[in-house]
Symmetry: C2
Subunit: 204 residues, 2 copies
Amino acid sequence: MSDHHLLPLLGAPPPERRDAARNRERLLDAAKELVERDGAPAVTMDAVAHAAGVGKGTLFRRFESREGLMAAVLDHSETEWQAQVMSGEPPLGPGADPWERMLAFGRTRLETTLLHAELIREAGRSGARASGAYSFTATHVRYLLTQLHVDGDVPLLAVAILAPLELPILEQVSLDGFPIDRFYDGWVDLVRRIVSPGGAADRT
Amino acid sequence: MSDHHLLPLLGAPPPERRDAARNRERLLDAAKELVERDGAPAVTMDAVAHAAGVGKGTLFRRFESREGLMAAVLDHSETEWQAQVMSGEPPLGPGADPWERMLAFGRTRLETTLLHAELIREAGRSGARASGAYSFTATHVRYLLTQLHVDGDVPLLAVAILAPLELPILEQVSLDGFPIDRFYDGWVDLVRRIVSPGGAADRT
DNA sequence: AGGCTAAACGGACCGCGGTCCGGTTTCTAT
DNA sequence: ATAGAAACCGGACCGCGGTCCGTTTAGCCT
């Protein structure tokens, strides 16, 4: 009789040790500060480790890689926007009709992506994929499409709606010389065509 | 009387010196071979320079960066596909009706992107932007949209059609578990919605 | 041919991301 | 309280991308 765990620890891997958690916090704070001060591309891993008063090995064990660290910082920055979408004021948050919400979603998503462009770029694959950032937007768009009674392969249509808002495409487009407002108008047109193939008369 | 240039050299910067051209060739060949043998991610700049029997400095002067080199290799690989589009057999090349050509374009573009995935990834920004690769596809899609009498902002609609076919989006989608064929069907549906908002009855 | 200049060459050198391993700290069981 | 093991810590170390500068070479002009 020695295996009396206080909690079943349902499925979760053993929790983080106290010092480990403390260091993760310190590292994340240091990283955020350095990114804000010097810009993401100029931040080196040694600098972050040193600023946090911690060894480099610790930094890499916590965040896997430089990209992983940047993804963590990014994730933190995106949280506020996600909160707005889930429970903020009506044009973007719940309350407005689905079409209005879609428009607000597009515009703010575009702005947020541009705002965090540096971080997203530095985060590489870790930025778009994991960290829930992408899957959150995908889920939301699928939800809105359903509300709009769109027929067809909703998950894939959601991908098509989101793709032009991803940073790599935005970068290509902007160095082709499209002003941002025109691009947004184009995106709205795209969504309109996707949503109303027969021609239901929704518009702003 | 000493300034008798054989040709006016209209606007072109002074041509490449003979040894420079020779070394560029050697470097590109070496790079292609190493990429094919070991896979793009495993190829180091030192290895390429050494295999070409050339100093590292030369390699970097010719191709700017590792990404630039990879972009050059990629560009070479894409040439064949571009030739097919411009002057190949009818479903893809000229001769078929625009809708058929669009479908063939989408499928082959999808396959080509997947085939060169490693190289595109390693080429980073240089891969998508420059090297004409992207601008070629954009021009072609704009042309097809015009042939299909699409109304609206054609350049932006072309972007929307191309975006889901870009590697970053393909990667996100494929680790979401979508099989490739279903993805292609979704893309066709997308294009159909974009092309016929009133409902002209084109289909395969 | 011979000389002059601009361009190309090459490899020593640097900084950064990432790994590794001997020493230290936290947690648990007795 | 204490002993033992697991997890964590830190910084020396490595490989690779990229730069720099003294030296060599190609093209041109007399």
